[in-house]
């Protein structure tokens, strides 16, 4: 076993580090879910694409550099270490793109992926519905066969990025007579098409990070079906791991957060007194260490997974609980100042969503118990 980087990997990492060093601004961009913020974040994506760094693992033809998984991991670590902007294109880049590369046609990949990489087309996801959350297979939104395509109607909700996005992807019931896991079709549609209404939902942090999408007889051409009509569940599930696992949540963000937590600890009264000031301090120190160990474990698992992948459900359970714990620790260290420290409260509120989105942790435990441990339903 070793953690050595070959010359190629070191060269790639240096390239990424140099690019980020020159281009990441010290002042953060405006919030991504505002018009000004969205424009600034799209411009950032274009800059990444021009440097060939928007999607390093994609095939070269679609705007990537066919980089091995190790390089994608190094990119993630450098990206977060540099404090680079949130990826406005992340739903497309990390969720739709793997699905297209696995199940899409060459025409679809060539048409969809390059503008996605450049930030010209930002994608939202359209999975959940008011009565289909954890029980995703109970989707009711319909796709009815039309002339040369499908006509969508129904309601999607909790659609991340839909407020600022151009297009969306999701599952629709196309064959209503079939058993519920069958008869679903995976479709891409235009959020500005006639019949689409996007209503922002204000989140508990005050931002409009997600939205409802109302569809009223929205036409989608056959060219925007991914896989076979009626086979959408299988298509979606075959790449669901991307949402839960390492491709959405690389270790970089947690390594960076743990680093900030250590800095916070060092500057806190408990940290400067080096743990000599009573029982309260001792508790905090232990939690700081455990948070750091958790981030370190996730990072090392990412390297281990290059050889032997761990289940996406286990990965999702681990990062989401670890992230919440890390931020709880930071807030507790800040004490009465915590609520007026947006640098941490923002991350804290975001971390609380982790155990819910991408399939709740309860669902993940069920999947893990069944698929990894072989326990009966």
């Amino acid at each position: 076993m070793n953690l050595d980087l070959d010359a190629e990997a070191v060269a790639f990492r240096d390239l990424v580090r140099a690019f980020l060093g020159e281009n990441v601004l010290s002042a953060p961009l405006p919030a991504v879910d505002t018009p000004a913020g969205a424009a600034a974040h799209r411009a950032w994506e274009r800059k990444l694409a021009d440097a060939g760094l928007a999607a390093v693992s994609w095939p070269v033809d679609y705007g990537g550099r066919a980089a091995p998984p190790l390089h994608a991991l190094l990119f993630d670590e450098e990206y977060h270490a540099a404090g680079a902007p949130v990826r406005i294109g992340q739903n497309g880049l990390f969720l739709l793109a793997p699905t297209l590369l696995a199940h899409g046609t060459a025409e679809q990949c060539a048409r969809v992926l390059p503008p996605m990489a450049r930030g010209d087309e930002v994608w939202a996801q359209a999975w959940s519905e008011p009565s289909a959350g954890s029980d995703l297979a109970s989707i009711r939104s319909r796709a009815v066969r039309g002339d040369g395509g499908w006509v969508l109607s129904g309601q999607k909700t909790w659609s991340s990025r839909a407020v600022v996005a151009d297009r969306a992807f999701g599952l629709f019931r196309s064959h209503p007579g079939e058993p519920r896991h069958h008869g679903l079709t995976y479709l891409m549609f235009d959020l500005r098409a006639p019949g689409v209404t996007v209503r922002p939902i204000r989140q508990l942090d005050g931002t409009a990070g997600f939205a409802e999408i109302f569809l009223d007889d929205v036409f989608v051409p056959d060219a925007d079906v991914i896989g076979t009509p009626g086979d959408g569940w299988r298509v979606a599930m075959s790449t669901a791991g991307h949402e839960r696992g390492l491709s959405l949540r690389g270790p970089g963000r947690f390594t960076a957060a743990a680093g900030r937590l250590i800095e916070l600890w060092r500057s806190s009264p408990a940290g400067t007194q080096r743990g000599d000031s009573g029982p309260e301090t001792a508790v905090d120190a232990g939690r700081v260490v455990d948070a750091w160990i958790g981030a370190r474990a996730y990072r090392m698992q990412a390297y281990a997974a290059l050889e032997e992948p761990v289940s996406p459900s286990a990965t999702k359970l681990f990062w989401s609980e670890m992230d919440a714990g890390l931020h709880e620790t930071a807030l507790d260290l800040l004490g009465p100042h915590a609520e007026i420290t947006p640098g941490w409260t923002g991350g804290y509120l975001f971390s609380l969503a982790g155990p819910i989105y991408a399939g709740t942790n309860e669902i993940q435990r069920d999947i893990l118990a069944q698929r990894e441990l072989g326990l009966p339903r």
């Binding site: 076993m1 953690l3 980087l5 750091w292 160990i293 474990a297 090392m300 281990a304 069920d366 326990l375």
Partner: protein, 397 residues
């Protein structure tokens, strides 16, 4: 870049697993001789003394299997730590290799007693960077019926300026691997029980109250293992530099480190990684043990069920070779010097790299024993272990 067992290491683990199956409660002497035959006891001993000169990662692979079978006896003491405490010891190393010589040791504050110190051939007492022979004192019966903790009195001097930090880190690493292996075995037996035990007309593993707990155990084990491997890699990296400690420019982290653990540090990052692994493996194993008992119910509480053997072993090892609190202190001292650094540890540090790279400064100083054996022969491998296996099979046939 590989943070997981190679094909060769997997095969080695499988051979060991098969050898141990059914022999878990063999007498210590017979078991140690068998471990000698397959190369386990000589893993980290340089080849010139008959060992395999293998790395810390090979040690981890082997000790995971020993933990999986809840093997009793001074595993970390005799197999991991003792060889490193006795560099160049022509009289003792060959015996450790064959398993005919079994060692134990005390090294306060991590190991205030010597495990099975009244039953071993070689008893050591570690004090700073000095190693003495020990004399067995009072014998204490453990909560774990398979363990006896023995007070140790100082005997003759064996040597001073020994690479104690590295030796003890190897012991902690081995103990962590045992914990992880035991945790995995506990999960496996719990899953098996949850699949077959029926209540209310269903296998109990169909109830979320049960299956979610087992899922949490699985996650804890899955994410402890990479820390163990990373710690082994870190120890391999420092294998040739037993002299590494920190100078004044290394900052307060080094000083705090020594005070926090009370033990000379082989290397800040290796010590940090070893401690992180011990905390995570101990926590995962303990969760596995408590969950296993709850899933099994009363049958798991009986003396004849093997679960109890694992439960008491895990609880004992969790607090042995340094308590979680002692190891957290060591991690804290190390990371207070800066955040997690870059991967690719063999590179020279670069100016202007990620803020606060905690790249340690290799200098001579405290505990700077020359350890040519470890330096020049630390990496051999399992090729010769394969030969050992073949030999055993010939003997059997």
């Amino acid at each position: 870049m590989r943070l997981g067992p190679s094909e060769e290491q997997r095969r080695f683990a499988q051979v060991l697993h098969e050898m141990l199956t059914g022999n878990e409660s063999a007498p210590m002497r017979r078991l140690w001789a068998a471990l000698g035959d397959v190369g386990v006891t000589g893993l980290t001993v340089p080849e010139r003394y008959g060992g395999l000169g293998a790395g810390a990662d090979d040690l981890v692979v082997a000790c995971e299997q020993l933990g999986r079978h809840a093997v009793a006896g001074p595993v970390a003491e005799s197999i991991a730590a003792a060889p490193a405490l006795l560099p160049g010891d022509v009289r003792r190393l060959p015996g450790l290799v064959t398993g005919r010589l079994i060692a134990s040791l005390a090294a306060a504050p991590w190991l205030p007693y010597a495990l099975d110190g009244d039953a071993v051939d070689l008893l050591l007492l570690v004090d700073g960077d000095t190693v003495h022979l020990g004399r067995a004192g009072e014998v204490h019966r453990s909560m774990d019926p398979a363990r006896r903790l023995v007070a140790v009195q100082r005997g003759a001097l064996v040597g001073t300026g020994r690479p104690v930090g590295r030796a003890l880190d190897l012991g902690v690493l081995a103990c962590s691997a045992q914990l992880l292996g035991a945790g995995r075995a506990l999960l496996d037996m719990s899953v098996e029980h949850a699949r077959t035990r029926t209540q209310f007309g269903r296998p109990i593993g169909a109830f979320q109250a049960v299956r979610h707990r087992l899922a949490d155990v699985s996650v804890a084990l899955d994410f402890a293992r990479p820390l163990l491997y990373a710690a082994a890699v870190a120890l391999n990296e420092t294998g040739g530099s037993a002299a590494v400690t920190l100078d004044e420019t290394g900052g307060s982290a080094a000083v705090t480190l020594d005070r926090a653990s009370g033990i000379p540090a082989a290397d800040v990052d290796a010590g940090r990684d070893v401690s992180a692994a011990k905390v995570a493996c101990g926590r995962a194993a303990l969760l596995a043990a408590r969950t296993a008992l709850q899933v099994h119910g009363a049958i798991g509480y009986t003396a004849e069920h093997r679960l109890g053997r694992y439960l008491t072993l895990v609880r004992a090892l969790h607090l042995s070779w340094g308590t979680p609190d002692q190891h957290r202190r060591r991690v804290l001292a190390a990371i207070s010097g800066g955040p997690d650094g870059p991967i690719g540890v063999r590179e020279a540090p670069q100016a202007g790299a990620t803020a606060g790279d905690p790249t340690p400064q290799p200098v001579s100083g405290l505990g700077a024993a020359s350890d040519a054996d470890v330096a020049s022969e630390s990496r051999g491998g399992l090729q010769s272990a394969g030969a050992g296996v073949a030999r055993t099979e010939e003997e059997r046939s």
